[in-house]
Amino acid sequence: MSSPMLGIINAATEFDTFETLTAHRSLASLPFAGRYRVIDFMLSNMVNSGITNVAIFTGQEIRSLMDHLGSGKQWDLDRKRDGLFVFSPEGHSEIERFGSFAHLASNMTYFLRSKQKYVVIANCYTIGTIDFCQILERHLKTEADITEVVHNGKSLQTYILSKELLLSLFEQYKNQGYYSILDVVHDKRHQYQINRYEWTGYITAIDSLSSYYLNSLDILQPSIWKQVFTKEEPVFTKVKDEPPTRYKKGSKVTNSMIANGCMIEGEVENCIIFRAVKIGKGSIVRNSIIMQKCRIEENCVLDGVILDKDVHIGDGIELKGTAEAPYVVKKGTVQRGVHHS
């Protein structure tokens, strides 16, 4: 039985605290947890809730996100009936805030063609497992106009409402000055019945460099990753053909999450290591996030560091950051080695 909900992900949000990590990619496509991109979590929640019609509204930076999503096949959304739709902004000047009603409304055809009666709207940077079926059930039982999902009292900017109501909100947006659902919900004058659904279970948001770093290292705690990665509700992502990871002589790895395709000869402690990373002999990497295809040569010391993709750290380099201020190295950087005599 297909879901009566269609899913909308607002992938247009940007925060400017991510330094170079989001210089050339959207927040939605920021690599996270060793092999995923931030948007994979909400997208997988929708798919696992039985939703087969998903629309992603992007901002201006779309190359990385489009490369990641493709046709939606890896999320089982490459379909003839419904599937994945991606809408990028078309340069309309009256769209002041992407993800706003204006942005959604400019793709009216999609909404008119979709047969589902209900809509779940979410942001792209919430991490955690959410079952929308449960929330829809309560939404229908309580006959609310809008159900807002909250966690520990704080809004997750995730809403369920009927498609009919959403379309009428589009109509009204110019007249009543509502730019987005947030406006509707916060406007005390509205006549809508808004219920709050408290979602228990691990939830976190990646909305700053600091939260990115701290949440990445939090994932190393079994009590947390067991809630984020469950067998019943897997997190889908674009899959690469990488061989298993090799732990060579001299490697010493502890309290870390390691993706496939890595070749480790050094020490790794409290780290998230993405795919195809090489860590050379004698190197020590601690409290760090090393993204895909980085190469760390021999006798380096990295502590509190975030290396973006394809970074090459030569022999003997030492880099240090802190939890409050992790040391971020831009994608593709090559740092020549030093040789201690």
Binding site: A33, G34, R35, L220, P222, W225, F229, P234, V235, F236, T237, V239, K240, D241, P243, P244, T245, R246, Y247, K248, K249, S251, K252, V253, T254, N255, S256, M257, I258, A259, N260, G261, M263, I272, I273
Partner: protein
Amino acid sequence: MKQKKKCVAMLLAGGQGSRLSSLTKDKAKPAVAYGGKYRIIDFPLSNCTNSGIDTVGVLTQYLPLVLHSYIGIGSAWDLDRLHGGVTVLPPYSETSGLRWYRGTANAIYQNLNYLKQYNPEYVIILSGDHIYKMNYTEMLDYHMEKKADVSISVIEVPWEEASRFGIMNTNEDLEIIEFEEKPKSPKSNLASMGIYIFKWPVLKEFLEMDDKNPESTNDFGKDIIPLLLEEKKKVIAYPFKGYWKDVGTVVSLWEANMDLLKEETELDLYDRDWRIYSANPNRPPQYIAPSAEIEESLINEGCMVEGIIQHSVLFQGVTVAEGSVIRDSVIMPDARVGKNALIERAIIAPGIVVEDHAVIRPSKEDAVTLFAGEES
């Protein structure tokens, strides 16, 4: 314009692999796990893709369900194509009734229609039983250069082992003059790898000829090759240099996995120009706990390691609880090892649970044990 296929591959994947014991209790040998992530059939399939052969018929027979679901429409190996791609060919009933494949040649003979629809120039026959990387186009170029009717890929084996293989006796020009199956006194140490390139008309002619012979066992090695030599066809040997392993026994499967842990491995799985494709299991990254100690091992995604892993191969989704020691072993997908267990020189079958405090090691030194649950 649709182009005629230069070379179509026929992959014989029907083997039972009875010497692999309980590992082939529910699946054919080509579906058996290897290398921390793969199944044996990933190697010939990936070799086809990387060689530019995009049309592959996979002939199944014994317990084909696992293999059929695994292969699907071939997307994992880039073989979901508009023209060609992978086609699974199970034995099917002919007008004269359901016929199980009598021999390797009979399997191809029953699927001549598949080949006729492509009418290729050449056909390459592969087996799904071996671990190796090979560029089939290089063999095809050699075949065309020598203007051969049939080319057979051979590999040098140690003389003391030659009697275990199908041996090709050749002249100085590497033309094959005799084929001996497991000879007691081998005259040559060139073993057949079970890889044949035929000119399509020659294959068709000889399969039909052989099928008419009621005495024939319809086997490539035992029947077709001698027939070709009798009819004075040009049959040559293509010398292959590289890693090639037949994983037909528990010991050889274990050895092939251990080979991947050598400081300098002969089989490089990390070569980006010759990727080994497989249906990716899509699990979270492996978690290495504070209590874990890992040395010289290969570990796949989805594993949770709290114990001590020495010189071993862990497939996807394996959990090893605290205090357990795993040494020189191969732990297959989704097996779970409890606390304080000891596993040495063993293969643990997929999905098996090893209880706390269990000790699994072979009873004889230098042996290897296969553990597939309490009843084995």
